[in-house]
């Protein structure tokens, strides 16, 4: 037995217990930092003992939902995933999950690692965890102050894929031109997922679209259809580069507002129609990513189906929580493309809505809130009976809505989140819903507030 590892793991477990007791959440990075300080290679040591290896899920949007869907499928297959499911996705968070799931000798209590990984952390995660499968959901502009420009990030991710071994696999989003071109120099086998249903597309490219030029030759891409952001069916008129043919396909998609969608899913071996209980076209991509990953790991149709149908919404990703006879529809909205899709979903709920929009500018949200001007709030503006703006940047949010065309008489600004929730609830009749659109740290805060009100289970009590 490795005494140093045992000590590090004991300290990590103690730190996890302490942070739970203090209400800091089980997923915080702190316990992982403790472990790494005492044993810098603890991550590799434990991960290498996972019988079925590791799966990494990365990308700007959809990491948490994709990996939670995949975890649900794994459980149907009788696998026991070691999973950083609360979204602590830096090396420290992954290490904390590994430490928590293993005994003091470093023997993991599960058989497969399933980790969502911060985009910028992918290179280090690939080196430490030697994944058998990497899934990349999409790349959008997000937190430019933290990640730098999208080009640089894509380049780093491409180098990381270049370090993968032959026999491993990479699953990429064919609809995202920035993601589909990754991995060309990788020894891993490349697979793609994509939407083939053109009826769910839009005619015009959104303002938030990031990647509109061919990665090979730089000329503008032709889009036959746009799904959202810069997702779509594209080709380069100059050099002929085009969207790869996907292996995992959403053939038919019926969107049902905040309730979810009906998706006909095709893999190389089978085809099935599923009821997805999480809303929006972006979640169809997440479903494809998870189902494709499950297929590549040898899971069958039944395991995928049961995993999807029994799926419980990931924390803050379209949760519906009952409070005082009202509902809170809580959905993380953290960057332009994600926000546009949330607005598209909320629009199907009709008008005369009570909306709570929480904009924070903490480090984990991105200090720069300029991105709200890239969101098409003009499409949200006609809907609210009242919009309560809150968060550290409440006034920026309110101003954005005024310039989007919302009558200032329908605007309420409450910097404090608790006051904002009170105000929103007081303007909501019994049985009605408050639509809470919240940035990352605001989602955590609101979730904590709702837990205290008894509306939502604590982060670490779920399942």
């Amino acid at each position: 037995m490795d005494i140093r590892l045992a000590l590090a793991l004991a300290a990590g477990k103690a730190a996890t217990a302490a942070s739970r007791r203090l209400g800091l959440g089980a997923g915080s990075n702190f316990p992982g930092k403790v472990v790494l300080r005492l044993h810098p290679r603890a991550t590799e040591k434990i991960a290498s003992r996972l019988a079925r290896g590791c799966v990494l899920v990365t990308g700007t949007n959809g990491k948490t939902t994709t990996s939670n869907l995949l975890a649900a499928m794994f459980r149907q297959a009788g696998l026991r995933p070691v999973h950083n499911r609360v979204g602590a996705n830096l090396i420290s968070g992954i290490t904390a999950a590994l430490a928590q799931a293993s005994d003091l000798s470093g023997k993991p209590g599960g058989d497969i690692g399933l980790f969502e990984v911060d985009e910028a952390t992918l290179p280090e995660a690939v080196r430490r965890l030697r994944p058998g499968l990497v899934i990349i959901t999409n790349l959008f502009r997000d937190q430019l102050d933290r990640y730098g420009e999208l080009e640089t990030l894509a380049h780093k991710m491409d180098s990381a894929l270049g370090e993968m071994e032959s026999g491993s696999a990479v699953l990429l989003n064919a609809d995202d031109p920035l993601v589909a071109c990754l991995g060309a120099s990788s020894a891993a086998s490349l697979y793609y997922f994509g939407i083939e249903c053109e009826e769910v597309g839009e005619g015009v490219l959104r303002h938030a679209a990031d990647s509109k030029h061919c990665r090979e030759c730089g000329s503008p891409l032709d889009f036959a259809v746009h799904f959202f952001g810069h997702m779509g069916k594209y080709s380069c008129p100059l050099c002929g580069t085009s969207r790869p043919r996907p292996h995992f396909i959403a053939e038919r998609v019926g969107l049902k507002g905040t309730l979810g969608s009906t998706v006909t899913l095709t893999t190389p071996a089978w085809k099935t129609t599923l009821e997805l209980n999480i809303p929006g076209l972006y979640n169809v991509h997440n479903l494809l990513a998870a189902a494709g990953g499950a297929y590549l790991l040898g899971l069958d149709e039944e395991m995928v189906r049961r995993g999807v149908e029994g799926y419980v919404t990931a924390f803050g990703r379209g949760e519906r929580l009952p409070v005082e006879g009202r509902n809170i529809f809580l959905v993380l909205s953290k960057n332009p493309t994600g926000f546009n899709e949330v607005i598209r979903t909320v629009r199907e709920e009709g008008s005369d809505l009570v909306v709570l929009a929480a904009l924070n500018d903490r480090v984990a949200d991105g200090r720069d809130v300029s991105w709200i001007w890239d969101v098409d709030f003009e499409e949200l503006a006609p809907l609210p009976r009242v919009l309560v703006a809150t968060g550290t940047r409440a006034w920026d949010m309110a101003l954005r809505m005024k310039y989007a065309g919302l009558d200032p008489a329908r605007l309420e600004v409450r910097e404090n989140l608790r006051d904002a929730l009170r105000t929103a609830l007081s303007r909501t009749a019994e049985g009605e819903t408050v639509y809470a659109l919240t940035t990352y740290t605001a989602t955590l805060e609101l979730r904590r507030l709702l837990t205290r009100l008894g509306a939502a289970p604590g982060l670490w009590e779920e399942r």
């Binding site: 102050d145 080009e151 720069d368 809130v369 300029s370 890239d374």
Partner: protein, 260 residues
């Protein structure tokens, strides 16, 4: 203001748009619409010809390296000269970050690439090895728009001004043009360059109105614009300034401690 038309030219909107710069055009459009001024926005991109007499106000935002290079090449055609001519003839212009850099004389990036500018501003930019990132407050010295500007900066370029233009203002909190001489932005005739986004104009209505007024004066005899109810704008400005002071001002460690 019946019959008054403002003709805006938004340059490279699909390429130079990295930090929500579109918000500046939204602010200009709305503030005109609220006053009954008709606005026409033309979006010009790579290869589109530019007629210097067809517009009163030009806007160009910031872009990523790749986009900036495409735009640099396009501006080196007669388009750059047309833009200079329009400003010489009194047109107003706002350029942000990457756009600002390309309107100077040159931009030498940290990786050694040389991007020639159109020389509208007597300014040279050299890339640095670190980025200046964070909230900014600037004491604006522009005649008719004196006051504090608030915004957010994120740039590696260090810009130095020559004698042919003057700064937009003095840095109160943040880095500004180069982090050394306390200047931020530049002014030449009615053309402005700045590193501030946020978006800049919605929270700085004084500057938005200055641009609208200068642009309209090109073709209309106007003293001032009718005032608007800027309660919300001013509240947002105050809140941003407070946050900037907490982040970058004196006693910040004390404040942070107290905030816990």
């Amino acid at each position: 203001m019946k019959g008054v038309i403002l003709r805006i030219c938004h340059l490279y909107p699909e390429l130079m748009n990295i930090y929500g710069d579109r918000g500046n055009v939204i602010a200009l459009e709305r503030r005109c619409a609220w006053r009954g001024i008709r606005v026409e926005v033309s979006r010009l991109s790579i290869g589109d010809p530019l007629d210097p007499t067809s517009f009163d106000l030009f806007f160009i935002g910031g872009g990523q390296d790749r986009e900036q290079m495409l735009v640099c090449e396009d501006l080196s055609s007669e388009k750059g000269a047309a833009l200079r001519q329009a400003v010489e003839e009194g047109a107003a212009l706002l350029s942000i970050c990457g756009g600002y850099q390309l309107l100077g004389k040159s931009f030498l990036t940290w990786t050694g690439e040389y991007l020639p500018g159109i020389g509208l501003f007597d300014a040279e930019t050299v890339g640095g090895d670190t980025r200046f990132i964070g909230n900014v407050a600037v004491r604006c010295t522009l005649e008719g728009a004196e006051g504090i500007l608030v915004g957010f900066e994120n740039h590696s370029g260090r810009t130095r001004l020559g004698p042919g233009c003057r700064p937009l203002g003095k840095v109160v909190y943040g880095h500004g043009n180069n982090g050394v001489d306390n200047t931020e932005g530049c002014v030449y005739r009615h053309a402005l360059g700045t590193y501030l986004h946020g978006s800049l104009l919605p929270k700085n209505p004084l500057l938005a109105d200055w641009l609208i007024l200068q642009a309209l004066r090109r073709r209309y005899d106007l003293e001032a614009l009718p005032p608007l109810d800027d309660t919300l704008e001013e509240a947002a400005h105050r809140a941003a300034l407070r946050l900037t002071r907490e982040e970058r001002g004196p006693l910040r460690s004390l404040r942070r401690l107290a905030a816990r």
